[in-house]
Amino acid sequence: MWDYTPTVKEHFLNPRNVGDIPDADAVGEVGSLACGDALKLYLKLDDNKDKIVDAKFQTFGCASAIASSSALTEMVKGKTLDEALAISNQDIAEFLGGLPEEKMHCSVMGQEALEVAIAKYRGHEVAPHDHDHDHGPAYPDQEGTIVCKCFGITDVFLKKVIETNKLTTAEQVTHFTKAGGGCGGCIPRIKELIAEVMGKQESGEPRKRPEKLSNLKKMQMIQEVLERDIRPLLWADGGDLELIDIDGPKVQVAFRKACAGCASSGYTSRVVEQKLRDLVAEDIVVEEVAA
């Protein structure tokens, strides 16, 4: 049984604002029957066409999808369109007192429906939604190339969710967007996207090697750099590494998957070493161990 918070349960058992608004100013629709969840969001604006005075929803989905939709409609009422657009999927999850990570895609669906509704209202062209397809695009307005064919999810959308939620693993991306949760064929591509997003964050603020480090801090930094900077790069090539031990300046790693037994793993070790020297301490020596 899922560990839902009392707020999730409350909004599931007594959902607010179920229904439609026949003369809605904005309607946003995402998801499909085939995908297992879908949300249609209706917004009614005030006379100045700026503030949301009413919101209603129809949802097909599990308890957390219904609760997320209910929460969203409560959150947007009284907000201007710009204020509403600032609501993130984390805000929806927080409003509910948190969601199990496997269910975060429900909050993403709510945020996305809101974005689609407002984009459509403001005159951006949004492709009509088709209910009858089997696994067509879940978020039809999203530009970019489809990455996950099972759930119809594009690279542009995935990068946005990876960035806003600071996701670091393909499993997390699946929990938040469903991408990769079907046949799993796109998981390598998802890892590449994670690496791309991480690389971009890097370039914004060049990091410098600290002047002096305690041993503990140094060990923490080595682990951090391996997790954030190095492993995603290896994933992109189907490889991986595992930190085995840190002994003074000596960092022992074992290569995994495609990197294990790869002829250029010696070269890869030097790249890892250089990165650690650049970002942590210049005396670091990386050793490859078979473990």
């Binding site: 049984m1 058992l13 959902p15 029957l33 969840d37 097909f60 999808a65 219904i66 496997e102």
Partner: protein, 390 residues
């Protein structure tokens, strides 16, 4: 709130008589059945009696019964043994709708270089016998097919499948965890080499299973150590649970008729009443031969987890093949293998009854479920559109 328990394919209540039978073997008669003294010896006698009772239910001899810790262990032991017995054979056959206890093991074998064929099923969940016949060859070490499906209750033509496997020199194993106690099984007149069963599916406690091993079938033990179970399964016997299972098997034999009259009648009533009261519903596996206690029913335009949680609020315990209950994102592999449209698969609910299920409980479900579905459909963007069309 008194629960209405309709999830007996997940686990069952321990029968009071079964519990009474095992009770003395914890604090009073706690001897080790392998000990030389009278104190252990009297436990050994009860374990032997239990072995006879299990064998009687299956139409087997007592020496063909190996006690294990669970159905999963029995499944693992059977398949591993076959691969060790035939090291030169590199092919394994199973089905696409097996329980994970078999399917996960088989899929892991592909990473060890084995060729694994997963036989498909038709839209009613029935095994594709032509595909099976074509798949078995001289390289096949073992064919492992479930007796009855845990999600839909569909019963496979297991004797026919065993004959196909034996004709090509492969061993035949069946995961009969859902079938034992619900349908008569007579292994004396059978080609099955190995069969797994699990105590907690037939009113014995959790943590006890059986691997039936036909006399003369080559076997390599999975658990090694002591000489228990004639060195075929090492480890001190779970004496109390074994004794409980023996009693549960005796009761299952006595109550077999009830399963196919009383339980089946209640299941059929639940099925026909729900179908009559709820539009856009379908039975998964409804046209195939099924276990008498299982009903897998799909409701279009609504999602299974939401149905389950609303039923839960009413004290009704069922389960779902929906993606959202498991945390995976696709509906159950069984429903997908049957080609059940995604639109139905997401809203599939399994009710599984037992001999303890009462008419009043079924009446409650028949009364409470239609408004649950109607309310969720009212909330669903698709439900509203489709229902308007009518």
């Amino acid at each position: 709130m008194k629960e209405i328990y309709l999830d007996n394919n997940a686990t069952t209540k321990v029968d009071e008589a079964v519990f009474e039978e095992m009770r003395p073997y914890f604090c009073e008669l706690y001897g080790n059945p392998s000990s030389m003294h009278f104190f252990g010896g009297q436990v050994q006698q009860k374990v032997d009696e239990a072995r006879k009772r299990v064998a009687a239910l299956l139409g087997a001899s007592p020496d063909e019964i190996i006690f294990t810790a669970c159905g999963t262990e029995s499944d693992n032991a059977a398949i591993r043994s076959a691969l060790e017995v035939f090291p030169e054979k590199r092919h394994v056959i199973t089905s696409r709708v097996e329980h994970p206890a078999v399917l996960t093991q088989c899929r892991n074998l592909t990473q060890k270089g084995y060729r694994v064929t997963e036989i498909g099923v038709d839209s009613e969940g029935q095994l594709d016998m032509a595909e099976l016949k074509a798949a078995v060859d001289a390289d096949t070490a073992i064919v492992s097919l479930m007796y009855a499906n845990n999600e839909t209750g569909v019963i496979f033509p297991i004797e026919e499948a065993a004959a196909i496997a034996k004709a090509k020199g492969a061993l035949f194993h069946t995961d009969a965890v859902q079938a034992v106690g619900k349908v008569p099984i007579n292994l004396a007149a059978s080609k099955i080499d190995m069969l797994s069963l699990s105590g907690h599916k037939l009113h014995a406690p959790k943590g006890i299973g059986v691997l039936y091993l036909r006399r003369g079938t080559p076997f390599r033990p999975f658990m090694v150590g002591g000489h228990q179970e004639k060195s075929r399964r090492a480890g001190t016997e779970n004496a109390a649970a074994i004794i409980a299972l023996g009693k549960a098997c005796e009761l299952a034999g006595e109550n077999m008729a009830i399963e196919n009259t009383q339980v089946k009648a209640l299941r059929d009533r639940l099925q026909s009443e729900l179908m009559a009261r709820i539009p856009h519903a379908r039975i998964n596996g409804g046209a195939a031969e099924r276990l008498p206690n299982t009903l897998n029913i799909a409701f279009e335009f609504v999602e299974g987890e939401a149905i389950l949680l609303l039923l839960n609020e009413l004290g009704i315990c069922a389960s779902s093949g929906s993606a959202c209950t498991s945390g995976s994102l696709e509906p159950s592999h069984v429903l997908r293998a049957m080609g059940v449209p995604f639109t139905c698969a997401h809203g599939s609910i399994r009710f599984s009854l037992s001999r303890y299920t009462t008419e009043a409980e079924i009446d409650t479900v028949i009364r409470e479920l239609p408004p649950v579905i109607a309310n969720l459909r009212k909330m669903s963007p698709f439900g509203r559109e489709f229902l308007k069309e009518q």
